[in-house]
């Protein structure tokens, strides 16, 4: 299914599995990355239509991973969405400043997640930074 490939960068195995299974069940194609570096690497090879990026990652964090992704012009039109914890308000504000195209709050809502991801795909890039 064209335009439905989602790269999920998430270090926690259970969270990754949850997002993968929920989105797979809704017909999305999922590519998994466990670190920021791996995410940047995989993005180059798998050409995703959307990236879901956890912010707290081992090694480089989500912000740094986004900066590296944006260095590659092939991703100019790929929206990148931050996944951040509810309590971290400062992180949410920062996501917009740092160039994310949106954010999802943890805990993710299982019933809502497929439509939320669909919306991000439809909207495309919203943050030109």
């Amino acid at each position: 299914m064209d335009g439905r490939r989602v790269l999920v960068v998430e270090d926690n195995q259970l969270n990754l599995k949850l997002v993968r299974d929920v989105l797979s069940a809704s017909g999305f194609e999922i590519v998994e990355a466990h670190t920021g570096e791996e995410g940047v690497e995989l993005a180059a090879s798998c050409a995703p239509d959307l990236v879901l990026m956890d912010l707290q990652l081992p090694g480089i964090d989500g912000y740094e991973a986004l900066r590296r992704l944006r260095l590659d012009p092939r991703f100019d039109s790929v929206p990148v969405v931050a996944v951040t914890a509810f309590a971290m308000k400062e992180d949410r504000d920062r996501t917009a400043r740092e160039g994310f195209d949106g954010y999802l709050v943890k805990p993710i809502s299982v019933p809502a997640l497929p439509s939320q991801v669909g919306d991000f795909l439809d909207r495309g890039r919203t943050n030109d930074r």
Binding site: N12, L18, D21, V22, K89, P107, I108, S109, V110, P111
Partner: protein, 770 residues
């Protein structure tokens, strides 16, 4: 001596009646004598005027005049020194005579005429010393060759201090005139001696005074050090330095008493080598078995004049080995409580003067407060540092808990939802029920976690508000929508009654929703099935007042305040219902942060109404953050120039439901009192510009504030003066929190039952009192 001259003149007139040639010659001689005498007396008098500068010169003048006027061969002033006489001034004596006299002084006995007149206290004469069988100083007679002797006692305050004596080398007894003259001269000499005494005494007193002044300055330095620097070691070294200086010792140390160990520990030393100090610090000076301990137990200084002559305790052993030979130890006491000890020492053996002992005792008692304060402040510093570390750990713990607990919880919640969504197949009823239990428990845990984090943020002052303009109606409808499903499950009706004029408000939307949602969740949770929940919003001045009313069981009076405390749920509704137990605590804090207040009205069996206000604009909020948070609170004005004291008082007052206003000097203090009409004033005495006494007097004279209770909190112990000036209480620093709170209660400034419920923006039940 004018009076004497007049007498002379009178006798001349008398003699005029039977004038003869002989009489005339006699008269002539008398006249000459009188003139000479007058001149001599004048000389003595003028010399007396200079006596303080040179007393010996005056005595010399007296002696010389007496010899000349009485036509004697020699004249001497002897002064009593114990049981013998010392030649103080003389004229006409050979050096041999003087030397012999010095080697064999006259005694207080009847051997010499000088001794006799001293014993008899009146003028005496020996017509011919060779004819006097009782005379015992033939040795002197042989050297001086005198025959006729005359001597007059010098009386000072009825006490013989010496004699004025003359002799002639031929036998020619002194006539009455000479006797009278000698008496007069002896009196003059006595005055000279008195003057000399006075001068010496004055000088001594001057020195003593100067020393007292220095001592007083030293004591006040100690006081200064405590109220300003508060640096323990500085205070202690100041004390010991002054103690050593004013007892004239060579070194010393100050010890602190450690009650838990029943021993003293050397804190600071003066004029002691580093090695000695480290050896002294290395030991504990036991209370029961040492000199210092004994001084403390007996409550007075103990001196050891010679360390070589006594049995040495470990402390004295160290001093002795370091070359110290005498020691004076004074306990530092506060009442009967042992605080420490002052030890001064000398490198030479010898008794300590009463003055030194008395001084050290006084100084030790003066130092007690300083030592005690210094220790309190040090403890305070340590505690503060410990608290900071604990607080830091707490923050780190919460931050890590946030991440570590959330991640697995998210998985629990997420996978439960996946299954309940039937994404991977149908569930039977029991599976569905259990999954719902897992999901709700997971959500409950997450809520608890969020509440804890929020609360700790508020408490740490780290909760930042995000103020924006938003629709109050939308926010309220959103919150209601969040609980509507659950309410419907229990057959609960929720109604919203909102004044139409309210809509846009400036506040923190997220926090506003959080508070309302919390109240709604509680209402849904604790209202029996089929009940009614009414939400209202009204405008009250610059504020919006929101109430959530239920027709549940109500909350008992005794539970109304308690349910705002952490992990308290009160006895309402089903015991099985779960809440985080933090929700209301958090709501109360958030509302206060938003600039509003929260309250509860309840009637058992009828229902409960929770209400809160929020300022509708930022401006109202800023004004109200004072007004609503604190304006309704009683004010306590604290007038103290010392930062540490201010902080301590403020910390003590925290949680009493009062607003604290600081003033750093007397003028500012009076202004603050006039401006706020406080419930009480805490007043220090040692203030810059205007002393506390002056502040107190002025407040008492001002009708508008004369009734405000003033509690003096000072390092000075002048209770009587304070109360006389109209202070309602007098506390001496350092003050404990209990003492301060008790004093405020007695003054009626704070409630009797502990922390006022109005603290933190929550008002107690406005409804019926049970």
């Amino acid at each position: 001596m004018p009076r004497r001259s007049l007498t002379k003149e009178a006798s001349i007139t008398e003699r005029d009646r039977r004038i003869s040639e002989e009489d005339y010659r006699s008269l002539q001689r008398d006249y000459t004598d009188a003139t000479e005498q007058f001149a001599a007396m004048n000389e003595v008098l003028s010399a007396l005027g200079r006596s303080s500068s040179d007393p010996d010169a005056v005595l010399d003048t007296v002696v010389e005049s007496a010899m000349n006027l009485c036509r004697a061969a020699a004249a001497q002033v002897y002064l009593i020194d114990g049981d013998h006489f010392v030649l103080s001034s003389s004229v006409g004596l050979s050096p041999e005579f003087v030397a012999h006299l010095a080697a064999h002084p006259l005694k207080r006995d009847r051997d010499s005429l000088v001794g006799r007149v001293t014993l008899d206290r009146r003028i005496g004469q020996v017509a011919d010393v060779l004819d006097d069988p009782d005379y015992g100083r033939q040795d002197l007679q042989r050297i001086g060759g005198f025959r006729t002797l005359i001597s007059a006692p010098m009386l000072l305050d009825d006490e013989v201090v010496g004699t004025l004596s003359l002799y002639r080398t031929e036998v020619e007894p002194f006539d009455e005139r000479a006797i009278a003259l000698l008496g007069a001269f002896a009196a003059q000499a006595a005055i000279v001696v008195r003057n000399v005494h006075l001068v010496l005494e004055l000088e001594e007193r001057g020195i003593e005074l100067a020393r007292r002044v220095e001592q007083l300055e030293a004591l006040s330095e100690v006081g200064e050090a405590v109220s300003s620097s508060l640096v323990l070691d500085e205070v202690l070294s100041n004390i010991i330095m002054n103690a050593v200086r004013f007892t004239g010792c060579d070194g010393g140390s100050i010890m602190e008493y450690i009650a838990a160990e029943r021993s003293f520990s050397v804190r600071s030393a003066y004029a002691s080598s580093d090695e000695l100090l480290s050896r002294l610090r290395g030991i504990r000076v036991d209370l029961e078995t040492t000199l210092v301990g004994r001084a403390a137990l007996e409550g007075h200084p103990i001196a050891v004049a010679d360390l070589a002559a006594v049995e040495l305790d470990p402390h004295l052993r160290i001093l002795f080995d370091d070359g110290w030979r005498s020691v004076l130890a004074a306990p530092v006491l506060r009442g009967t409580r042992i605080i420490g000890a002052l030890v001064v020492r000398r490198r030479t053996p010898g008794e300590f003067s009463d003055e030194s002992i008395e001084f050290l005792e006084t100084f030790a008692s003066q130092s007690a407060l300083a030592v005690w304060n210094a220790r309190l402040y040090r403890e305070l510093e340590t505690k503060t540092a410990e608290l900071q570390v604990v607080s830091q750990h707490k923050s780190e713990f919460l931050a890590s808990m946030s991440h570590e607990l959330r991640t697995p919880l998210n998985a629990v919640i997420g996978f439960s939802e996946v299954l309940l969504e039937r994404m991977f197949g149908e569930l039977n009823d029991r599976q569905d029920e259990y999954l719902r239990d897992i999901l709700s428990s997971g959500r409950h845990l997450l809520q608890l976690l969020n509440d804890i984090l929020d609360l700790s943020k508020v408490e740490a002052g780290q909760m930042e508000l995000s103020i924006s303009r938003f629709s109050a109606r939308s926010a309220m409808e959103y919150s209601i929508s969040m609980v509507r499903e659950r309410a419907a499950l229990h057959g609960l009706a929720i109604t919203l009654d909102m004044e139409t004029e309210i809509d846009g408000i400036e506040s923190d939307e997220l926090r506003f929703k959080q508070v309302l949602l919390n109240l709604l969740s509680n209402a849904v949770k604790f209202t029996p099935d089929g009940g009614h929940i009414a939400v209202t919003a009204r405008r009250e001045g610059d504020e919006m007042a929101v109430t959530v009313e239920d027709d549940g069981n109500g909350i008992a009076q005794e539970d109304r305040e308690r349910i705002f405390e952490s992990f308290q749920q009160g006895h309402r509704g089903a015991q099985s219902e779960e809440g985080t137990g933090l929700g209301l605590t958090l709501c109360r804090r958030i509302v206060a942060l938003l600039g509003g207040r929260m309250w509860l009205e309840s009637d058992l069996g009828v229902g409960s109404t929770f209400g809160f206000t929020v300022p509708m604009t930022v401006r109202a909020r800023d004004e109200d953050s004072r007004a609503t948070d604190e304006a309704h609170l009683p004010v306590i004005v604290v007038i103290d120039d010392d930062r540490a004291s201010l902080d301590l008082m403020t910390a003590y007052l925290d949680g009493l439901g009062v607003r604290v206003v600081h003033a750093r000097d007397g003028e500012e203090g009076i202004e603050s009192v006039r401006a706020t009409i406080p419930a009480a004033v805490l007043l220090d005495i040692r203030l810059p510009r205007l002393s506390g006494w002056e502040v107190l007097s002025r407040l008492r004279e001002d009708e508008a504030v004369a009734a405000v209770p003033v509690i003096i909190v000072s390092i000075l112990d002048e209770r009587a003066r304070g109360l006389a000036l109209g202070a309602s209480e007098y506390l001496i620093k350092p003050v404990s929190r209990d003492d301060l709170v008790d004093a405020l209660r007695r003054a009626g400034a704070v409630g009797v039952a502990g922390p006022a419920p109005s603290a933190d923006g929550i008002e107690s039940a406005r409804g019926e009192t049970v």
